[in-house]
């Protein structure tokens, strides 16, 4: 019973932080869909959220089947394994606690192999309630891009 309660609490907590919520949407856009190898990947994003929330941090995650098969080998990035192979992931960029004023996020693609990519862009939104207590909301959407000479 205890285990069930713990699981329930985790799921509930997760939903608060990262649930699909009608009030929150994210629309990322890759600025150059075909990127030259080694050139920076630039993307921007639009979002909607209840009043008071502002973007605070971002990160980029990829599931292994959604990136070139030799990505980890070529770049040396670590794969976070999952017992279901298709859920194994690579943290491309962990939380960066700075959102540029123009909302253009940039990441180096040095050493990234040529190929097609799908990655999840996560944006952490933050607000303060009436008691000045911090509230967080994480939203995510996929981006698609290609690296090719």
């Amino acid at each position: 019973m205890k285990k069930i309660i713990v699981c329930f609490a985790l799921i509930f907590a997760g939903c608060c932080l990262f649930g699909k919520d009608a009030g929150f949407t994210l629309k990322p856009e890759v600025l150059t869909k075909v990127v030259q190898p080694g050139s920076p990947l630039k993307m921007t994003f639009k979002w909607t959220c209840p009043e008071g929330y502002v973007p605070k941090a971002w990160r980029l995650v990829a599931y292994v089947p959604n990136i070139p098969s030799d990505f980890a080998k070529v770049t040396g990035n670590k794969i976070t394994p999952h017992k279901m192979k298709e859920w194994s992931s690579v943290f491309i960029k962990n939380w960066i606690w700075k959102i540029p004023a123009d909302k253009v996020l940039e990441i180096s693609t040095a050493k990234w192999p040529e190929g097609d990519y799908k990655m999840a862009l996560y944006i952490l939104l933050e607000a303060r309630d009436a008691q000045n207590k911090v509230k967080n909301k994480m939203i995510a959407e996929n981006i698609l891009f290609t690296i090719k000479k």
Partner: protein, 996 residues
């Protein structure tokens, strides 16, 4: 560049041309340069990549290899997406260039009659197909796909159903013209293994007389085996590995009253990587002009599929090519397919469910209900009247539906209707009316019809055709076989035509024959000559069919009409000729379906409208090392292509040598079951005569046929879509599996199409029992929550059944394999001094006859050889060496020796590799069903260095084995003579000779 060209011309004039050509020939090392930057295609050839490349020259005239009067040279380059060609054609008579611009269609076979340059591109290591772009001096070009015509002669059939997406520009100068061209690699259907070859041909008409030259030393325009090989190391074949499947389209009217054709197709990613793909669907007219297109982006992981549905809006009814093309985000063409498509919008939709075949109600159909779904598309009306009317317009049954209630199913009883013509008529208000014709037919003995699944019914019973090509009524027929397909057109009259069918019927075989019988005793067509099938069905052909088909169809053993044999390779056979003939034949003979045989998917796509059933051949081409010419799963691809065209399909499995090794028992079994997984409804094996050369093919077709007899009803059913999923290791991704159900029983058919030992994990949906029994393997597997695993040997097939009794009712597979091995081993008896045993590459007998014989092989010759079509025309050799092959009682007719008709004193002479002590000769003949042996007397002599000395003569022998023993002698040369043939029996008398 221009200056260098002028210098070049001067060289020609000063007589140094020959030397120059020779130098260029010795220096021919056409490097395939990698273009770091793609050239701008404008005909100029002034891009950096071209400056880096050297010219390739040294063209020669076809066949004679003489030096042409006007030289041609070219450069080649490539990048990872495209092939680049720059061709320069020197032309002293630029004002006389042949340009029949307005006359030439995209698919005109006369395109080469313009002054043209041909760019030939080959990448298939087996040379089964290649592509050609022909460009004239105005920049007009033609795209041709060539497929090997499946006759083993390296002859190629052109198909004009290929769109290259090439960018081509030409430029004309005072003394030459140039072609610059970029061809996307993705348009060439690149496989996983690429072996590149290129060539350039030039068709010159501007000078005096025609001058046809080529860079490679060719015999004709289509000779890919001699094209120069190139290495393109930076082309990644895996990048292009996509498949397109389950293509369907639905035509309707949208709210704006525009015709919409919604296309759906599965895109399958086999590239090994995650991919983003721009999917483009387009309708092209017969000249490849785009009428409408639409696109959508999709993305998919490796090994996954994505079903992409895209509407094409605002189109007109008509015939089109549906172009399906896939593009990378960077604009690289990844794959393209063209499919002939008919758009036919109808405001009133009548989907006739019953009767399901040819709109005919047959006397032996258990269900004679007329059932249809009625719908309106793009129109609205308050009331719809549906009625069944007779020929006089009298309504026999009527139903009224509110327009809002549609679509609705309507059914009328057909059981008590008199035989005759009826019309299912739908009237939507006063404006719209549509009717379809339904025939109720009187009974004809042996009548054949298909049900909604395409299952053949004969006299109302479900029937699985399993028969032979090239089977004589006198050949040994076994229980497994029920039909034969006959090429015969030599009947003198209707009576002999029917008598021949009766001969087969007497041994339990139904017949598939050409409807084009001319009844003149000749074995070639006049009225129906292939050259007459290039346009419409001719009046004399129509009249001939109208005269004879009503009589020919009466024979109760006709199973189907053999409509065409690979018409795509018969010199311009027109698909529309077959469409018209098919329409006529349906009226003249509603009782037998029309079969269309094509050797490939392109052929099926061209000719499918002219038949009821597609029966492609798909010869895998097995090699001794286990590799194959076509992928082993090509059978599945062929069947799926037929299904995509909306036709029931049978197949012609490979039961002869094609490649360099005969199919094994497991190869053959895999072909049959793979076809069944994809809803094959019949088999005609090619061919009985040649199958007898191989132990595996003497046994396997019969063994598998006996399996099919036990599970006929199960395998006739369509595979349940999505009922089974399979996980296989890498390298076995083309594993095939399908689940079928019939009256409480299931069959799960599984085929390993790889040559690896693998473990496959199955998940089966539905109420499948927990234990499945493996057909012919005396074992079972247990399912847990619908899952189980099993092991597969290379190319191995497992057939799982719910009935243990049925699974044990056939010969054990190990026993079959053992029989094959034993038969093969027994064909070479240890002490027989002339035994050859089984030789797959038996065509080598021809070389042996011409003296190119290994030292261990005895020489055999004779006074004459009756021969047969196979030995005389196909193999171009005599029958003699078949007498050493170890086949005694199951020889095919062409493997049996007989003396020529005018040979009154026949003899056979054998020269042993070395002098041997011999004391026995055994001759094998055949005994007819009447008990008479074909040969009764024979004698043996040996050569003593001066003359032949008789050793023994035997006479009055009655069996098939004539043993002649004599006191041992040392001999190198022996002679057989004194043959006495039994009057009234076939003249082919000897199947085997053994010397001890």
């Amino acid at each position: 560049m221009r200056r260098s060209m002028l210098k070049y011309m001067e060289k020609m004039k000063s007589g140094l041309f020959l030397l120059s050509a020779l130098l260029s020939l010795t220096a021919v090392s056409a490097e395939m340069n990698f273009a770091e930057k793609a050239p701008v295609i404008n005909g100029s050839g002034d891009d950096p990549v071209w400056k880096k490349c050297s010219w390739n020259s040294g063209f020669s005239i076809y066949k004679t290899h003489a030096v042409p009067k006007a030289e041609t040279r070219f450069k080649l380059a490539y990048d990872r997406d495209n092939l680049y060609f720059l061709v320069e054609a020197i032309e002293p008579f630029m004002n006389k260039l042949s340009v029949k611009d307005k006359l030439l269609q995209r698919n005109s076979e006369s395109f080469w009659m313009n002054d043209t340059v041909e760019i030939l591109m080959v990448h298939d290591p087996a040379l089964k197909f290649y592509h050609k772009v022909i460009v004239d001096s105005t920049g007009k070009f033609q795209e041709v796909y060539f497929g090997d015509d499946n006759t083993g002669r390296s002859v190629y059939t052109p198909f004009f159903q290929w769109k290259s997406y090439a960018v081509i520009k030409t430029k004309r100068y005072a003394d030459r013209w140039t072609v610059e061209c970029a061809v996307p690699i993705g348009s060439l259907d690149p496989g996983k293994n690429l072996k590149w070859r290129f060539n350039i041909n030039r068709n010159r008409h501007a000078g005096k007389g025609m001058e046809i030259s080529s860079w490679a030393k060719v015999k004709g325009s289509s000779h890919p085996a001699v094209y120069r090989e190139f290495s393109l190391p930076k082309v990644n074949a895996a990048y292009f590995q996509f498949a397109s499947d389950n293509i369907s389209g639905k035509t309707s009217l949208n709210k704006a009253k525009q015709i919409v054709h919604e296309v759906s197709a599965d895109l399958i990613n086999l590239t090994g990587n995650f991919r983003i793909v721009q999917v483009k669907y387009e309708l092209l007219d017969q000249m490849f002009r785009s009428h409408v297109s639409n696109e959508k982006q999709t993305h998919l992981q490796n090994g996954k599929f994505s079903r992409v549905k895209i509407p094409l809006t605002n189109i007109k009814n008509g015939k089109y090519f549906l172009s399906i093309s896939y593009w990378s985000p960077a604009g690289t063409l990844l794959k393209q397919t063209l499919i002939p498509t008919v758009i036919h919008y109808q405001p009133i939709v009548i989907n006739l469910f019953r009767p399901a075949y040819r709109n005919n109600i047959y006397a032996t159909m258990p269900d004679k209900t007329i059932e249809a779904e009625i719908a309106l598309d793009g129109i609205q009306t308050e009331m719809v009247n549906v009625s069944l009317k007779d020929q006089n317009g009298k309504a026999l049954f009527s139903r009224k539906y509110s327009g809002k209630a549609l679509p609705a199913k309507v059914s009328f009883p057909g059981k008590d209707l008199a035989d005759g013509m009826y019309f299912l008529e739908v009237a939507a208000g006063k404006e719209h009316k549509r009717s379809i014709e339904i025939r109720k037919l009187p009974y004809q003995p042996g009548e054949v019809w298909l049900d909604a699944q395409g299952v053949t019914h004969v006299d109302g019973k479900r029937y699985l055709p399993y028969g032979w090509f090239i089977f004589q009524a006198s050949d040994p027929k076994t229980e497994a076989f029920n039909s034969q397909l006959n090429y015969g057109i030599g009947a003198r009259n209707l009576e002999s035509f029917h008598r021949n069918l009766t001969n087969y019927a007497n041994v339990g075989m139904k017949s598939i024959v050409f409807p084009y019988q001319e009844f003149n005793g000749k074995h070639e067509w006049t009225i129906f000559a292939h050259s007459t099938r290039v346009g419409s069905l001719r009046p004399e052909q129509k009249a001939h069919l109208e005269k004879y088909i009503p009589e020919m169809k009466k024979h109760p053993s006709i199973l189907a009409w053999y409509f065409a044999d690979e018409p795509e390779s018969r010199g311009g056979n027109n698909p529309q000729w077959f469409v018209q003939t098919h329409e006529l034949m349906q009226k003249l003979d509603p009782y037998h379906p029309n079969l269309m045989l094509n050797w490939g998917i392109s052929g099926m796509q061209q000719f499918y409208e002219g038949c009821d059933i597609l029966i492609p051949d798909c010869y895998i081409g097995y090699r001794a090392d286990g590799t194959t010419e076509k992928p082993r799963w090509a059978i599945s691809d062929w069947m799926k292509a037929a299904a995509n065209l909306g036709k029931p399909a049978w197949i012609v499995p490979q039961v002869f040598l094609w490649g360099n090794a005969a199919p094994t028992f497991d190869d053959y079994r895999a072909e049959v079951y793979q076809a069944l997984i994809h809803n094959c409804k019949g088999f005609q094996l090619y061919n009985f005569a040649e199958s007898r050369l191989h132990s595996s093919l003497t046994i396997a077709p019969d063994a598998v046929g006996m399996e099919l007899k036990q599970i006929k009803d199960l395998v006739l059913e369509n595979t349940i879509p999505g009922a089974v999923t399979v996980e296989t290791p890498e390298g076995a991704e083309h594993f095939q599996a399908g689940l079928k159900y019939w009256k409480g029983d299931y069959v799960l058919i599984t085929v390993n199409t790889s040559m690896k030992n693998i473990k496959a994990d199955f998940t089966v949906k539905g109420n499948v029992p927990g234990t499945l029994y493996v057909l012919g393997e005396k074992r079972s597997v247990k399912l847990k929550n619908g899952k189980f695993s099993d092991h597969f040997g290379p190319a191995e097939t497992h057939v799982y059944l719910t009935s243990r009794k049925t699974s044990d009712s056939v010969e054990d597979l190990f026993s079959v394999r053992k029989r094959v091995a034993e038969m093969k081993a027994n064909r070479k008896k240890p002490d027989n001094k002339v035994a050859l045993g089984e030789i797959d590459h038996f065509r080598i007998y021809r070389d042996w006859e011409h003296g190119k014989r290994p030292a261990h092989v005895a020489e055999i010759k004779g006074s004459s050889d009756l021969g047969s079509w196979f030995t005389i025309h196909m193999y171009k050799m005599s029958t003699f060496y078949f007498l050493f092959d170890g086949v005694t009682d199951h020889s095919s007719d062409f493997m049996i020796w007989g003396p020529a008709w005018n040979d009154r004193k026949p003899w056979i002479e054998i020269t042993l590799p070395k002098e041997e002590t011999i004391s026995k000769v055994v001759l094998y003949t055949l005994v007819s069903k009447n008990g008479k042996a074909r040969l009764t007397d024979a004698g043996v002599s040996y050569h003593n260095g001066k003359e032949f000395v008789k050793l023994k003569t035997v006479s009055g022998r009655k069996g098939n084995r004539i043993e002649i023993t004599f006191p041992a002698v040392k001999a190198k040369k022996i002679r057989l003579d004194g043959f006495k043939l039994t009057p009234g029996e076939p003249r082919k008398i000897l199947t085997e000779i053994e010397v001890y």
